[in-house]
Amino acid sequence: MTAANRPPIRAIRSALTLFSLAVIGFTFAMAGPRAALLMLIGLGFGLVLEGLRFGFTGPWRRMIQARDGRGLLAQFVAIGLCALVAFPLLAAFPDELYGAHAPVGIAMLAAAFVFGATMQIVLGCGSGVLVNAGSGNLMAVLALLGFVVGSFFGTLHLDWWTGLGSLPVHTLQGSFGESAGLWVTLTGLAALAILVARLSRPGQRLPSPRLWLAAILVAALAVLNLVVAGQSWGIVYGLGLWGAKAGQAAGMDVLATAFWSAPDHAERLQQSLLTDVTSLTNIGIIIGAFVAMRWRRDPGPQVPRGSTPGRLGIALSGLILGYSARIAFGCNVGAYFSGIATGSFHGWAWFAAAFAGSALALHARPRVLQWLSLSAAATPGGSIRP
């Protein structure tokens, strides 16, 4: 389409606004006010993550390879701001709000390591795959399909992996007390921020105003997610549920499996996706990312198609991301962001293991891409998300 044939940007933006309102209205009519609010929060996440280019994978890569700590520091700011509000809320309303608390275990640590490594191969994490697919990245759509299948497969083997050895669930609140738990979290984040700033090159130590704004907005949306849903922001459960629904539609007796026969999960499987918290916010993220991408005058170029082995490799990487995120009790959002922001030890352990995996994978990445006959620009985060 030539520039002269393109519809005016104002008409496109009006259509995008109407579309967003229609999605919220449809969700309200079908599933009630809480579902509509969660869809709205998801839309907000998508708009912020795509519109302000706030990500997780890219900043880790830039810190490791270019000693550019700005994006990583912005992540710590967002997590710290969220913790500042979430800790007192969780303490004041323990029966209505739940944190993202999970056990540290052998398989959990190994899976977080694998997730961290894989996210650097495809340059996409839990939220990144949703955002990139919504914003029109062809390879990310493949990764998303793989992620859905992988997180569903992960539910089928979760008990076996967890049985390899796991500690009880520990939280900083439980170990140090409500107030001290928050201070330990903030001190830990501050210590990491100082370390990152010291390791970063001059001029790459202070987040830009765009990243500050994005960090504040992501933290505010995460708090809203907790207040509205009663639970922290997460992604992987919803994607595993989509896989389970697809398996059921294909004739698989999903309810006969150990994970999905548990009462809470069986209920989710039998109920509409429009009543599932993480499905609602995931769908909202995809729509929000699409709106943010199309809102621009120039949406940008498509990633290269890549070779057939490359495309299969991306789908397989998505599958590994989904599987490992399920075994690790979350991805960069459910475990790293929400886990740390609500006081779970497993959030810190996840970050350490995944960051180590990322560092290792970045050394191997050129060889892996060469093996897949894939250019770096053809990966889901290759040429679109910085």
Binding site: R34, E96, G230, A246, Q248, Q270, R294, G330
Partner: protein, 60 residues
């Protein structure tokens, strides 16, 4: 040799993703129990007096 497959642009790919989501919701509506509007939770969990009924990736 020229590829017989056209590489869709970002808008078309984004719309494809949205279409996949719509397909998923249609598939889901066919096999899930109908939503009971009378059983909808209060708009906000905080202050509702109810335990959260949702599921999270940190759950076993």
């Amino acid at each position: 040799m020229m590829s017989i497959f056209h590489r869709p642009g970002r808008t078309a790919t984004g719309l494809l993703t949205l279409a996949l989501i719509a397909l998923l919701l249609i598939l889901d509506a066919r096999q899930s129990m109908p939503i009971n509007p009378h059983a909808a939770p209060s708009p906000v969990a905080l202050g509702s007096g109810q335990a959260p009924a949702g599921a999270h990736c940190t759950q076993r």
